[in-house]
């Protein structure tokens, strides 16, 4: 195994991590929250984070690795700066979720399950987002966008492309 870099985290994240670990009766319970915190800062879970978190919680790296590979929201590589999640499940599909997904891919020039070459966009299907009454629903990073249709999709994509860094 190649030697790992040291894990560099901001003071802010370290403080949040320390506070989180304190909250639980066992250290191990903090595994998922710590993975969320690392991903929030880094955008994904780098190799060195696995060892770092395991050490911090007095676990073996495999205990962390097996969590990462189970949960869809934990990523092993960076996603686009604008991460688009499209609900794929029945209530959304019945109201045009698949069409919205197609349109998003065309407008953003990014394929499903891929990240655009400039690192700007990723699009992925996700399962029911608990917003089925306002279907079809998508998320851009942490925000829900509801009642999507062709027109709203085009407007949203225009906005997203304008704010390209």
């Amino acid at each position: 195994m190649r030697p790992l870099k040291d894990m560099e985290l901001s003071q802010e994240t370290i403080a949040k991590i320390d506070a989180r670990v304190e909250k639980y009766p066992t250290k191990r319970s903090a595994a998922l929250p710590l993975l969320h915190l690392v991903q929030e800062e880094k955008g994904y879970i780098p190799d060195e984070a696995i060892e770092w978190i395991a050490k911090r919680l007095e676990l073996n790296p495999i205990n962390i690795y097996e969590i990462i590979t189970f949960y869809p929201m934990l990523k092993r590589k960076p996603m686009g700066r604008k991460h688009v999640r499209v609900c794929r499940t029945l209530s959304c599909a019945l109201r045009g979720g698949y069409q919205v997904c197609k349109s998003l891919q065309e407008q953003l020039g990014c394929k499903l399950d891929e990240t655009s070459a400039n690192g700007e966009f990723s699009i992925e299907f996700v399962e029911c987002l608990a917003s089925c009454g306002t279907a079809p629903v998508i998320m851009v990073n942490e925000n829900h966008h509801e009642n999507m249709d062709e027109e709203k999709t085009i407007a949203l994509c225009r906005e997203l492309k304008k704010n390209t860094t």
């Binding site: 029945l90 019945l94 698949y98 608990a130």
Partner: protein, 448 residues
């Protein structure tokens, strides 16, 4: 038109209602907590028993009885866990409560924690509710600042804290023992019952109560109005209100709170939800989240109710309570009602559902892990224009081999849609093999 009767969502959508603690206090917030502290923990439990409250998470298990199973003799700490995973397709009620009225949940939780004598409580919230988790964290801080949480709450001698724990996109974390494993920092592999009934061997192998968001909010209202008064809403065995979530092909999808049994499916769809889309006819309804068995529009439902009376219903006559959809051979489950009109390709709809279960199986049990993948593959192949004569029977046979042979109820949740879709729409599944329609372009929505 049947009038909504809002208890849980009473204030949520009022234009000037905000989710901060000042607004909550102005509306009588945390007064019921003070009332609760004047009672004994067992008295609160008795009120919950008297209320007839049934869990709103899916199984409809009586809450008072669940609390009674708590092992109080072990000497281990007792935990309360709020199930805010809300991932059953078609369900979006808990989100309304948490995003718009978080303090109601927190007050309900403190009262419940006091009754079961849990000093540590958790809210397990699905990972995609980024904002919801922040809202709850803020509300907990507000409550702590006002001494409703923390050490010696309001000088009652009772101490309690709540930790918000985020999931990360896995449906199986909604299953209570999977949730507990996840909260312990492991893969959310459901535990086998017996022996791992949470009330005896739950979180950290300690006695644990897992209740749904809506259930815990109800506890507050039970203490407010007494269990006896609560039990007068709805009907015996189906007490209180329920928040129904309607989605799919209706004019006004949304969440609607009614007394249990306060209206029929027909009233809900044709009056409350504004009816079907113009020119469309009903094809099928899934009455309790995607795990519930589908009901066909032209079915007749006959049998005997619990009270011995006979019924003969069409789909519109089904009463919306716990027992109505169950009497019709399905279940009210999570309260998520999914409507499909005659534009729906039923094989595609099932294929959409099997893709969900194939994605979400935790993989522990062979019949579930393998079966859901085969059901996905077969239904997907059918939609792709390569349906075979034997597919309908093959799907049924796989589903039948999953049901009853797994660690958790996910197995049933995955099998029931397949069994019911294929059984009730066999003609369409068979016709697929003859005509092999590729996803139709006639304006109907693509579902896979």
């Amino acid at each position: 038109m049947p009038e909504e009767h809002r208890i849980i969502l009473k204030h949520a959508d009022e234009p000037d209602y905000t989710r901060d603690i000042d607004c909550y206090l102005k509306h009588g917030g945390y007064e019921i907590l003070q009332k609760a502290f004047k009672m004994k923990p067992d008295e609160i439990h008795q009120e919950v028993m008297d209320s007839g409250l049934r869990g709103r998470g899916g199984a409809g298990f009586p809450t008072g009885l669940k609390w009674k199973f708590l092992d109080r003799k072990s000497g281990k700490p007792i935990y309360l866990v709020c199930n805010a995973d809300e991932s059953e397709p078609g369900t979006f009620k808990d989100k309304q409560i948490m995003y718009k009225d978080p303090h109601q949940l927190i007050e309900g939780m403190i009262i419940s924690a006091f009754s079961i004598q849990a000093k540590q409580a958790f809210i397990y919230i699905r990972g995609e509710f980024f904002e919801g988790a922040r809202i709850l964290e803020e509300a907990i801080e507000e409550a702590r600042a006002k001494k409703f949480l923390g050490e010696n709450i309001l000088n009652s001698g009772f101490s309690c804290d709540i930790v918000v724990h985020r999931g990360a996109g896995a449906y199986i974390c909604g299953e209570e023992t999977g949730l507990i494993e996840s909260l312990e920092g492991k893969r959310p592999y459901p535990r086998i019952k017996p022996p791992y009934f949470p009330a005896v061997l739950g979180l950290y192998q300690s006695p644990t109560i897992v209740n749904n968001v809506e259930t815990l909010c109800n506890v507050k209202h039970i203490v407010e109005m007494t269990g006896k008064e609560f039990s007068k809403i709805g009907s015996p065995g189906n007490t209180g209100t329920r928040i129904w979530c309607v989605s799919g092909h209706v004019q006004k999808p949304g969440y609607y709170e009614f007394p249990c049994g306060g209206l029929t499916m027909g009233e809900m769809i044709n009056e409350v939800c504004g009816g079907l889309m113009p020119g469309r006819k009903l094809k099928a309804i899934i009455p309790g989240g995607s795990s519930a068995k589908v009901l066909r529009a032209d079915e007749r439902f006959k049998g005997k109710l619990k009270d011995g009376s006979e019924f003969d219903w069409g789909i519109w006559d089904i009463p919306l309570d716990f027992d109505g959809p169950a009497a019709a051979g399905s279940m009210s489950g999570s309260g998520g009602i999914i409507i499909m009109d005659d534009s729906t390709d039923i094989v595609q709809a099932l294929s959409n559902i099997t893709a969900f279960y194939a994605h979400e199986s935790c993989g522990q049990c062979t019949p579930c892990r393998e079966g859901v993948q085969w059901m996905r593959k077969i239904s997907k192949r059918m939609c792709g224009g390569d349906a075979r004569e034997e597919d309908a029977d093959l799907l049924l046979s796989i589903a039948n081999q999953i049901e009853g042979r797994t660690i958790c109820a996910f197995g049933e949740a995955a099998a029931w849609p397949v069994q019911s879709f294929v059984d009730k729409f066999k003609d369409e599944f068979k016709a697929y093999a003859e005509t092999s329609p590729v996803s139709s372009e006639s304006g109907d929505k693509q579902l896979v």
